[in-house]
């Protein structure tokens, strides 16, 4: 019993102190980390592909008038899967390494993008789905609003 306790103690002491003095010394994520997404409004063509594939449906698309498409990113629902960045044909959606997103003000998690649809007005879906199965979603059924996450 004593020997086993000594072995256990040895495991403990051999490791030394491992915890980081977070938040004074934050741990930087590796490349390819899925942090908060940002959208470059200049590049966005308003295809809505990101909204189509977003599993938690946190991107709301609306067309207030024929020339204008509005994308609202409600990032408090984001699950950091990066599907939006994967399908974006213009690479307008990028994933950053930012992970300290806790906030008291929900507006900090909202992004509002307005795109003038002067050239792509008729097609509306000018992105290339990554797999043929994804193409199904183009004809697939979607509920009118994103109000479905509360069980």
């Amino acid at each position: 019993m004593i020997i086993s306790k000594l072995k256990e103690a040895l495991i403990c002491f051999k490791a030394g102190r491992v915890t980081l003095p977070y938040p004074f010394a934050p741990h930087d994520p590796e490349d390819g980390f899925h942090g908060r997404v940002v959208v470059d409004a200049e590049k966005c063509v308003g295809c809505g592909g990101c909204a189509e594939v977003c599993p938690p449906r946190c991107i709301e698309v609306s067309d207030p008038d024929p020339d204008r498409r509005v994308l609202d990113f409600l990032l408090e629902r984001c699950t950091y899967c990066a599907r939006c960045a994967e399908v974006c044909p213009e690479e307008a959606v990028t994933v950053t390494k930012e992970y300290e997103t806790a906030t008291n003000d929900l507006n900090d998690m909202h992004m509002h993008i307005e795109v003038f649809m002067s050239t792509c007005r008729r097609c509306g879906r000018c992105y290339e789905p990554p797999t043929p199965l994804d193409r199904l979603m183009v004809t697939g059924f979607r509920p009118p609003t994103g109000k479905s996450e509360e069980a």
Partner: protein, 566 residues
């Protein structure tokens, strides 16, 4: 025995009761039988052919054939066969004979069938509600197609009374209520212990307090490609298991083959997940016993693995890598040496830990001979995972129904004959080492190539089905999928391993002391769902309101003031 021989034998025994046989994929059979003969067929499968009951899936098929399908899913482990017994009951006052009296493991599945589909199971000894809340109105069954997702019927019967018919306390016992907030695991579940002094004589269980209606969401809201991400959130620890299981079942139903490399990546991630889950569990088990050093040290050893997973997938947990047809992210060959060095460091430290705790008599005093689950009980209740394997049941989906890359690189099944909490600890400790071995082998064998299938059909036909089991760290997860129109499944049935194991709890804690209940429950690595909000339901009006921290505090203050008479 092949499926053809089995079907021939059943036809011989039951004749015209066997109505039709489908075998879209080899070794996965669905047999339609008449409602009158379902019990006899199930009994024969269980008794004569050694089939193990997995789960029952009820399907509302009223729009196609004016009835409800009841699919009992069985597994013949040695023969690697899935055998589904389907019976269709008329939609008017649906009822079916319960198989539970003959196949005890089906108890919860049939109670759930009554709750969610409203198909009455005749002959259940315990036909109480399992999932629906106490004040849920009679006759409203959420999984029926005429109930929309998010519909909420008026609760209560207007009297403000809603009680659950708890088992009466046996003579000479007092009742200790643990839950609905279970303090040890900090999760919503309720156990009523009927105790004589410190000794537990009997117990009763009520759970599903935070049922999330994910199956309902799957067949009425989500699309095929969204489900993997929701499936991954069924569990916070073994999420990848559920997304893999769904994807494999869906690929089977849709006739898609994932590329070899994608299947290897799935297996690799599953094994990484098993390692960190077992390490997490070992820490929690230590914590339950007050041995926080085990918690701190195992989690310290685990942390590099979490960082590795973050590097591979972009996310520390809930990787979001699976999608129907393959995986979304390839693993660069440059990462192989790092993967190996991380897991081999774990292997070395884990071996030291295993060696140290084996001689720890104080630790063993709390584990050896406690929480006994005899072999025959484990078999009858179809306990899975380390809970079953700790009772000498060689059940492991990786060997029984190889999926992902386990057909090419098999994993060793680890069992222990002692049937107690210590046996379950040993099984997990050894499985961790076995997973490291698999990763070493698997990385060696991993082929190059694409990670995403390209031969995906443009349309998905309705009525196809697929079934898959994946060995989660806690046991075997089952996903059964029937395709539908609307780009979503007609029915997506999920069974998480804890569903099977929890049914064995009453026999495990019987005659133990109250102090041993937490570790015995903990030894099956239970996984309930978690919530951090407080919801208060007004029993009179049936209205629910969610309290914030501040509101809860205000109410507590008011109660103190009232008691002090100020």
């Amino acid at each position: 025995m092949t499926t053809a021989e089995l079907v021939r034998a059943l036809r011989h025994d039951f004749g015209a009761a066997i109505q039709s046989v489908e075998e879209p994929v080899s070794d996965k059979v669905r047999v339609a039988v008449t409602p009158e003969s379902v019990v006899a067929v199930a009994k024969s499968l269980y008794r004569d052919y050694g089939a193990r009951f997995l789960i029952t899936a009820g399907i509302d098929s009223r729009k196609d054939r004016d009835g409800f399908d009841v699919d009992h899913i069985f597994s013949l482990d040695k023969e690697q066969i899935f055998f589904i017994v389907r019976t269709t009951v008329p939609s008017d006052g649906p009822h079916v004979a319960a198989i539970t009296p003959e196949v005890p493991a089906a108890a919860w599945a049939e109670r759930e069938l009554q709750d969610l589909l409203g198909v009455k199971a005749d002959g259940l000894l315990d036909g109480r509600r399992l999932i629906l809340p106490d004040d849920w109105p009679e006759g409203v069954h959420p999984l029926r197609k005429d109930i929309k997702y998010g519909d909420w019927p008026p609760l209560g019967d207007g009297t403000g009374e809603a009680t659950y018919p708890w088992k009466p306390a046996p003579e000479g016992t007092s009742t200790v209520v643990v839950g609905p907030f279970f303090p040890v695991l900090e999760e919503p579940t309720q156990l009523r212990l009927y105790v004589d002094g410190e000794r537990v004589i009997d117990c009763d269980y009520r759970g599903f307090y935070n049922h999330r209606a994910i199956e309902k969401m799957g067949d009425s809201e989500l699309t095929y490609n969204e489900i993997p991400f929701v499936a991954e959130r069924i569990c916070g620890i073994c999420g990848f298991i559920h997304s893999s299981c769904y994807c494999e079942a869906a690929e089977e139903a849709l006739g898609i083959t994932a590329p070899r490399r994608a299947r290897y990546i799935r297996s690799l991630m599953l094994e990484l997940e098993r390692i960190h889950s077992h390490m997490l569990w070992t820490g929690i088990a230590g914590h339950i016993l007050g041995f926080d050093t085990v918690l701190m040290q195992t989690w310290r050893m685990r942390e590099p693995l979490m960082w590795l997973c973050e590097k591979i997938s972009g996310n520390r947990k809930t990787y979001g890598m699976n999608i129907i047809g393959g995986v979304r992210r390839d693993i660069s060959r440059d990462l192989y040496p790092e993967i190996l060095s991380v897991v081999e460091k774990i292997e070395q430290e884990w071996a030291q830990l295993y060696d140290a705790v084996q001689g720890d008599t104080i630790l063993k005093a709390r584990l050896v001979g406690v929480g006994m689950l005899p072999e025959e009980t484990a078999k009858a209740l179809a306990a899975v995972g380390p809970t079953g394997r700790g009772s000498n049941q060689a059940i492991d989906a990786r060997a029984d129904h190889p999926y992902a890359a386990y057909d090419e690189v098999p994993a060793k099944v680890i069992t222990h004959p002692d049937c107690d909490n210590w046996a379950r600890v040993v099984v997990r400790l050894e499985e961790t080492l076995e997973s490291v071995r698999w990763i070493r082998e698997g990385l060696k064998e991993m082929p190059d190539g694409p990670v995403m299938a390209t031969d995906i059909a443009e349309t998905v036909p309705a009525g196809h089905w697929g079934v898959c089991t994946v060995e989660a760290p806690r046991g075997e997860a089952i996903h059964y999928l029937v395709t539908g129109g609307d780009n979503r499944p007609d029915r997506w049935r999920v069974r998480a391993p804890t569903y099977a194991n929890l049914q064995a709890l009453p026999s495990m804690i019987k005659d133990e002391t109250i102090a041993d209940v937490p570790i015995t429950l903990g030894s099956m690595d239970p996984c309930f769902s978690c919530t951090e909000r407080v919801e208060v339901v007004n029993m009179r009006s049936g209205e629910a309101e969610t309290l914030t921290h501040q509101e809860l505090l205000t109410r507590s203050r008011a109660a103190t003031e009232r008691l002090r008479g100020r």
